[in-house]
C-alpha cells in the first residue's frame, strides 16, 4: 500500500512562482535595470560616505588631513621661491620694486600670488610693466619695463618727469639735474604731452633758443624762447602755425628782431608785439611821436 499523506518527493513544478515571475519581469524593465546597476551602487557609496561625513570630528579630521597633505606637498623644496631677480631696471628702481613687492622669502610658489605682486610692482610710477615668472631653482624672475622720462613738468608741486603718455615717472629736485629734457609748465600740461612733443619736434630749427612750453588756460600752448620772446600758438593745429612762423622767420628773420610776442592764435593774421624800446624806435623812425623817456 502506498503511504498516505503527502508524497515524500513532490514533483518539481516547472512553472515559476508568481513572485519569481514578477521579479523576472521587473528585472526586464529597462528603468529598473539601470537603477539597479547604476543607481544602487551610487546610493550605497553615497550612504557610506554620508555616514562617515556626518560626524563633526571625522569631518574636521578629514579636512585637516587633506590640508596637511597639501601643505606638505607645497612646502617641498622644489616649489620654494628663494630668490627674486629683477631685470631691466636701474639699481635704485630695482631696490624700490623689491621693497614694494614685499615678497617674504622663502615662500612656496603655490602661495605666491603673482598677479597681486605684479600689481604691487606696477603701482610704482617708474614701472611701466612688470612681467613675473617663477623659474626653476626657486627664482622669481621679474622683468621690468621702465618708464622713460621725456618731459619735465613744472607745476606748483615742483618739478616732475613725465613719460610720453604724460604719466608721472619721478620727481626732480632741480632743473639742472636733467638739462636734456624739455620743460613744460602750466595747468593741465601733463594731459597733452603728445601735442607738446609734436610742437617741440616742429620747433627743432630754433631748438637752441627754446626755453619751454607753457599751457595757457589748459587750452593752448605758449612757446617761450630766450630773451623772453613768446609765441602764442592757437588751440587748433599748433604745428601748422609753427611751420608758418618758421617760414616767416626764414624769410624775414623775424625772431631775431626785438619782438616780444608773436601772436599766432588767429592763423590768417599773425600779430607782433614789439618790445617797448623797439616800438619807440619805430615810432621815432616814422616821426610819429617823440620817443618817451626811457630808462634804457
Amino acid at each position: 500500500m502506498q503511504p498516505l499523506g503527502r508524497a515524500t518527493v513532490p514533483r518539481r513544478d516547472p512553472a515559476p512562482s508568481r513572485w519569481a515571475y514578477r521579479m523576472q519581469r521587473l528585472w526586464l524593465t529597462p528603468l529598473f535595470r539601470v537603477l539597479f546597476r547604476v543607481g544602487l551602487p551610487l546610493a550605497c557609496v553615497a550612504l557610506i560616505v554620508g555616514t562617515y561625513i556626518a560626524d563633526q570630528g571625522r569631518r574636521a579630521a578629514l579636512g585637516g588631513f587633506v590640508a596637511d597633505l597639501r601643505e606638505r606637498f607645497e612646502d617641498r623644496p622644489e616649489f620654494m621661491v628663494t630668490l627674486v631677480s629683477i631685470e631691466g631696471a636701474s639699481p635704485e628702481l630695482a631696490k624700490a620694486v623689491r621693497a614694494r613687492m614685499d615678497v617674504k622669502l622663502p615662500q612656496s610658489s603655490f602661495e605666491l600670488d603673482l598677479d597681486q605682486v605684479r600689481e604691487r610692482a606696477e603701482a610704482l610710477d617708474a614701472v611701466q610693466s612688470a612681467e613675473m615668472r617663477v623659474r626653476s631653482h626657486g627664482v622669481l624672475q621679474v622683468v621690468i619695463t621702465e618708464r622713460v622720462p621725456v618731459l619735465i613738468w613744472r607745476s606748483d608741486d615742483g618739478l616732475t618727469m613725465l613719460d610720453a603718455s604724460g604719466h608721472r615717472v619721478a620727481g626732480l629736485a632741480a632743473r639742472a639735474d636733467r638739462p636734456d629734457l624739455p620743460l613744460i609748465a602750466g595747468e593741465g600740461a601733463d594731459a597733452e604731452t603728445t601735442e607738446a612733443l609734436d610742437v617741440m619736434a616742429a620747433l627743432q630749427p630754433i631748438a637752441p633758443r627754446l626755453r619751454g612750453l607753457v599751457r595757457m588756460g589748459a587750452r593752448r600752448w605758449d612757446v617761450v624762447l630766450d630773451r623772453d620772446q613768446r609765441l602764442m600758438l592757437p588751440a587748433e593745429a599748433p604745428v601748422a602755425a609753427i611751420e608758418r612762423l618758421l617760414a616767416l622767420d626764414q624769410a624775414e628773420d623775424l625772431l631775431s628782431r626785438d619782438v616780444a610776442v608773436v601772436d599766432l592764435r588767429v592763423p590768417q593774421r599773425p600779430v607782433l608785439r614789439l618790445a617797448p624800446f623797439a616800438l619807440s624806435e619805430l615810432r621815432r623812425a616814422r616821426g610819429l611821436a617823440p620817443a618817451p623817456e626811457n630808462d634804457l
Binding site: 508568481r18 519581469r25 526586464l28
Partner: protein, 444 residues
C-alpha cells in the same frame, strides 16, 4: 452588447498602445501546449513594391523575438478547466519567451480553441440620407443588423462585415464614397461561451498581462495556413488540435463560418492508452513515433515494443504490430473527420465555388491523414503549414503552430470588425441629451 462593444474597443486601443510600444505577446492556449511568441514591431515596413510581392500579408513589419512552448496544464477541450494550473502554464511560457526575447511584455493577444463557437449570419439594411455612402452610413448599416438571440451566457467574439451591397450591386468590399440609395450588409458573427472567455481573462490578468485582443483559434489558423487564393475562392481550414478540432470556412478573404468539434489528438492518445493498456505518456510517444491511419502489409511485420515497468516480464515485453496500432487510431480519426464533415455541411461548404480543405494543427501530422481525409471530406485536401514569419524558430514552424502564427498576423493586421467602425451619431448623444432633459423636467 454595448458592454462587449466597449470592451472590444478597449482591447483595440490596448493593441494600438502595444504597437506604439513595439512589443506584444502572442498566447495560444491550447489543450496540449501553450505557445507564447513575442513580436517586435519595427514600424519600418520594407516596401519593395517593385517586385510585386507587396507587404507579404502584413508579416514583414514584425519579427518574432521570443518563442516558447510549454506543456499545457488544466486545459480540456480548449477550455480552461483548472485555473491556477493554466495560469502557471501561461506563466511558464511567457517567462521563457521573455527570457529569450530579453524584453518585458505587457500586452498580449490570446486565442483559444474551445468554448463552443457558433456562427451567425446577420443582415442589415439602411436607406441612405444623401445618396453617397459615408462612414456614418456604414456604421448605421452595421448597427441595423438584427442580432439573433445568441443565448444566455454567451458573448460575441468576432463580428466581421463580410459583404456590402448597394442597391443591386453586391460583393462590395468597401462601399464608402459610392452612390446609391440603399445600403445592405452581411455580417458574420461568432459567439462563444462567456465563462470560458472570463476564465481566460482572469488567468491572463493573474499573469500581469493586459489583454490586447482575443480571437478564435479556428479563425487565426485559417489566416495563417490558407494561401491567398484559397481564402478568396472558398476553402475550409481544419485545425486539428489536442482537445478540439476547429473548423473555419473562408470566402472572399472573410471567415464566413466557424465551428469546432470537441475531439482531437488527445482522444486518439487515450484510445491507444486504453487499447494497449499503457500509460498516457507512453501512448503519446507511440502515437507520435509509429502512428498512422493507413495500414499496409509492411505494417504487419513492424513490431512496436510497448515497454513498461510493472515487473511482470510478460507484460513489460509486450509487442504490438503497427497494424494493430493503426486499427486503434483510425476509427477515432475517422470519427473526428466525419464530425468535421457534418459541420462543414452545416456551414454550406458544398456550395462554395472552390472546396479546398486544408488540414493543419498538431494532430494533422499523422502519416496518411490526407488520404483518409480526402476520402471523407472531399477530393481537394492538402496539408497546411503556417506562413513563414520573420524570426520564427525552426521548431515553431510546424502545423502545430498555425494558430500562434495566425494570431501574430491577426495582431499585425486585424480585419475590420464591427467595433472598429464608429458608433452612429444618433445613438449615444441623443439618449444622454434626452436623459439630461428629463432630469431637468423632473427637478424644475
Amino acid at each position: 452588447m454595448t458592454d462587449l462593444y466597449q470592451s472590444q474597443r478597449a482591447m483595440r486601443n490596448m493593441r494600438r498602445a502595444a504597437m506604439q510600444r513595439g512589443v506584444i505577446a502572442i498566447l495560444d492556449v491550447g489543450t496540449t501546449k501553450i505557445a507564447c511568441l513575442i513580436l517586435r514591431f519595427d514600424g519600418v515596413e520594407d516596401t519593395r513594391e517593385s517586385d510585386g510581392v507587396g507587404s507579404m500579408a502584413g508579416q514583414s513589419n514584425f519579427r518574432v523575438i521570443g518563442a516558447a512552448t510549454t506543456r499545457s496544464r488544466g486545459v480540456r477541450f480548449g477550455e480552461i478547466a483548472v485555473m491556477n494550473e493554466t495560469e502557471r502554464a501561461i506563466r511558464t511560457a511567457v517567462q521563457a519567451a521573455q527570457k529569450m526575447a530579453n524584453v518585458r511584455v505587457d500586452h498580449c493577444i490570446a486565442c483559444f480553441a474551445g468554448a463552443e463557437p457558433r456562427s451567425y449570419g446577420l443582415a442589415g439594411e439602411w436607406d441612405l440620407q444623401d445618396s453617397v455612402v459615408t462612414e456614418q452610413d456604414v456604421a448605421r448599416v452595421l448597427s441595423a443588423c438584427d442580432v439573433p438571440d445568441i443565448g444566455q451566457g454567451r458573448e460575441v467574439l468576432h463580428a466581421h462585415p463580410v459583404n456590402f451591397a448597394l442597391d443591386h450591386r453586391t460583393g462590395l468590399g468597401d462601399p464608402r464614397g459610392q452612390i446609391g440609395n440603399r445600403l445592405a450588409c452581411d455580417m458574420h458573427m461568432l459567439s462563444v461561451e462567456a465563462s470560458v472567455v472570463q476564465n481566460l481573462l482572469y488567468c491572463i490578468k493573474r499573469c500581469d498581462l493586459e489583454l490586447a485582443g482575443i480571437a478564435s483559434s479556428a479563425y487565426v489558423s485559417g489566416i495563417s495556413s490558407l494561401v491567398e487564393d484559397e481564402q478568396e475562392l472558398g476553402s475550409a481550414c481544419i485545425d486539428m488540435g489536442g482537445g478540439s478540432t476547429g473548423i473555419s470556412i473562408f470566402m472572399k478573404k472573410h471567415m464566413i463560418y466557424a465551428d469546432s468539434v470537441r475531439l482531437g489528438g488527445d482522444h486518439v492518445t487515450s484510445d491507444i492508452s486504453k487499447g494497449l493498456q499503457v500509460p498516457l505518456v507512453v501512448a503519446e510517444r507511440i502515437k507520435t513515433k509509429h502512428g498512422g491511419v493507413q495500414a499496409t502489409g509492411m505494417d504487419d511485420r513492424e513490431m512496436i515494443e510497448i515497454g513498461g515497468d510493472t515487473g511482470d516480464w510478460d507484460k513489460d515485453r509486450r509487442q504490438v504490430s503497427r497494424t494493430e496500432l493503426i486499427g486503434i487510431i483510425r476509427p477515432r480519426v475517422e470519427e473526428i473527420l466525419e464530425d468535421v464533415a457534418a459541420r462543414l455541411n452545416a456551414g454550406f461548404f458544398d456550395q462554395l465555388p472552390s472546396q479546398q480543405i486544408v488540414l493543419t494543427g498538431g494532430a494533422s501530422q499523422i502519416p496518411g491523414l490526407d488520404g483518409l481525409a480526402s476520402r471523407i471530406l472531399g477530393q481537394r485536401v492538402r496539408m497546411g503549414r503556417p506562413l513563414r514569419v520573420q524570426g520564427l524558430p525552426q521548431a515553431a514552424t510546424g502545423p502545430a503552430f498555425s494558430g500562434a502564427v495566425g494570431l501574430s498576423l491577426f495582431a499585425a493586421h486585424p480585419q475590420d470588425e464591427w467595433w472598429d467602425f464608429d458608433i452612429p451619431t444618433e445613438r449615444y448623444p441623443a439618449r444622454s441629451i434626452k436623459r439630461a432633459l428629463k432630469w431637468f423636467k423632473d427637478n424644475w
